[in-house]
């Protein structure tokens, strides 16, 4: 395969032969979903380009979405599934406002390409709401842990992720654990208070 690529004269320098045949069609979509698990075929590893249909496991159910390789998970959540809890604040994830759980671990959806999330369990802030909201949300309300509220969904899910792993965390540990999230209003004191209250079961 390497040899054949070296001989191609295509302007991009890549061997187009290996591209997914019929990209953009349903056949390609099926291939995308299985490509991760697929062992290398004689034709070489699958290459994806253009729009693809993929299925993402979000909050316990499968969602069919159409993405390009450059589409971020955050864009899919907000623009295609109307899950607008995760927020676009920083392009590089440094604000933590787009935090979601991926296979139980916190990650910033703004720095995740949607294609890389295929086959993973994605949990967004919306999964913690509903009629019986998560204790973290209740504590945020009780302790007035928001001002403008833009960072709040990211903070709530970060607190959830941190306490899942450290259910008996001290205040100092909580402060350190939430370092990946930024609140420009400066509501940190109340946020930490809320998290401490969850630990104490108050």
């Amino acid at each position: 395969m390497t040899d054949s690529r070296n001989k191609t004269g295509s302007s991009s320098g890549f061997n187009r032969r290996d591209f997914l045949r019929g990209s953009g069609a349903a056949a390609a979509a099926a291939a995308v979903q299985t490509q991760a698990a697929q062992a290398m075929q004689d034709s070489g590893p699958a290459i994806v380009r253009g729009s693809q249909k993929i299925a993402l496991n979000i909050n316990g159910s499968q969602h069919d979405v159409t993405v390009e390789p450059r589409t971020t998970l955050l864009d899919v959540l907000r623009h295609q599934l109307d899950l607008t809890g995760a927020k676009p604040v920083s392009a590089d994830g440094s604000s933590g406002a787009s935090t979601v759980l991926i296979d139980g671990k916190p990650a910033t959806a703004s720095t995740i390409l949607a294609l890389t999330a295929v086959g993973k369990k994605i949990q967004t802030i919306e999964s913690l709401g509903g009629d019986n909201p998560d204790p973290v949300i209740q504590a945020f309300v009780k302790h007035d842990a928001q001002q403008c509220g833009f960072c709040t969904p990211g903070f709530v899910i970060a607190v959830r992720a941190f306490l899942n792993k450290n259910p008996n965390a001290t205040e100092a540990q909580i402060r350190e654990g939430l370092n990946g999230n930024i609140c420009r209003c400066g509501t940190y004191a109340n946020i930490v208070q809320a998290a401490v209250a969850v630990v104490k079961g108050a």
Partner: protein
């Protein structure tokens, strides 16, 4: 983001097949915490992105026969920090803890941390890695050592100083399908002299697959970062030290590497010379710090970093020797114990 092709190969060989021999045509994606931001800002504009997170061999942590550890470059930092094999390499764990963001630790990988692009804001604004604006511009976070050439940015890896102090090696594959070599981690980094060079020595179609830590062999080690605050920002200066001391505490071998001060992780032979044959105490550690920055050539706005780098070296050495480094954290601990 510019449109690009995407592939998620399952084996190391497939990764090599997918990487272009031409610079900048393909980018390797691991955790995405650095690359996706660069793609959005069009700082990098590859034709293809190759996701290596489906390659199982890159996700292993193996204790090697005879001691030492091999860590795959796609292992996430949280997994490494919690692994018991790191118990004897506290410098590495301290460096990962310093990153201070759950999201970065859970999503980011060892390979990505080591090979993340420089944080230089001129570079991140698309003005190139060797922007001539730095010399007279906003250079307070730039290099104070190794900055006589066109490169003024700093190597920003948090973990590289610890790994280099411990004498880590890397396994590199490519460009040919059967090409494989092991080299010292230090040889992975370079100071670019022109716009064709990056801050690492890899060919565009080479891949770092594993980091190999040698047996600890009686050495002690520590990382110390000087930070602006307790947040997730990059430290202003950092140092890692690895020492072997005899039963009287006399230093037999020493390696001190500074981070955030030069375009490469900066190995200080000057600090090593101060330490060899002596028993570490505060004065000796301070002398080593002074020696480490003795050749510093700060830019217009970063003279302050010389002092911070000196302190980082001093404290890393004290911690590696099992002594109190006297920073605010140890004061806070002492107060806590009193209360």
């Amino acid at each position: 983001m510019k449109a690009f092709e995407y592939a998620a190969p399952a084996t190391e060989k497939e990764v090599l097949q997918l990487l272009s021999p031409e610079p900048s045509r393909t980018e390797i994606l691991a955790g995405g915490t650095d690359l996706v931001g660069l793609l959005k800002k069009l700082v990098v504009t590859p034709d293809r992105v190759v996701n290596i997170m489906e390659v199982e061999s890159l996700k292993s942590i193996q204790v090697l026969p005879g001691g030492g550890v091999s860590v795959g470059t796609a292992v996430t930092l949280d997994v490494i920090a919690e692994h018991s094999c790191l118990d004897v390499y506290p410098a590495v764990r301290q460096a990962i803890h310093g990153i201070n963001s759950m999201q970065l630790q859970c999503q980011g990988t060892l390979g990505g941390e080591l090979l993340q692009r420089p944080r230089c804001w001129y570079f991140r604004q698309g003005r190139g890695l060797l922007s001539t604006e730095v010399e007279t511009g906003a250079n307070r976070l730039h290099a104070i050592l190794g900055n006589s050439g066109p490169a003024k940015f700093v190597s920003c890896s948090r973990i590289a100083p610890a790994l280099m102090a411990l004498g880590a090696e890397v396994r590199v594959i490519g460009p040919g399908p059967n090409d494989e070599k092991r080299l010292p981690l230090a040889d992975l980094f370079q100071t670019p002299q022109n716009n064709e060079e990056r801050e690492n020595t890899l060919l565009p179609n080479q891949l770092v697959t594993h980091i190999i830590l040698p047996p600890v062999a009686g050495r002690t080690c520590a990382t110390y970062e000087v930070r602006h605050g307790e947040g997730p920002e990059f430290p202003l200066a950092a140092a890692a030290a690895a020492l072997r001391m005899d039963h009287r505490g006399v230093v037999e071998t020493a390696r001190v590497v500074m981070g955030q001060v030069a375009p490469i992780p900066w190995l200080s032979s000057e600090a090593e010379q101060v330490l060899l044959g002596r028993v570490v105490d505060e004065r000796v550690a301070e002398q080593a710090g002074e020696a480490a920055v003795s050749r510093a050539t700060p830019l217009s706005e970063n003279t302050y970093k010389v002092q911070l780098a000196k302190v980082a070296v001093k404290r890393a050495i004290l911690l590696a020797a099992g002594l109190d480094c006297g920073d605010f954290r140890s004061h806070a601990r002492q107060i806590e114990e009193l209360v």
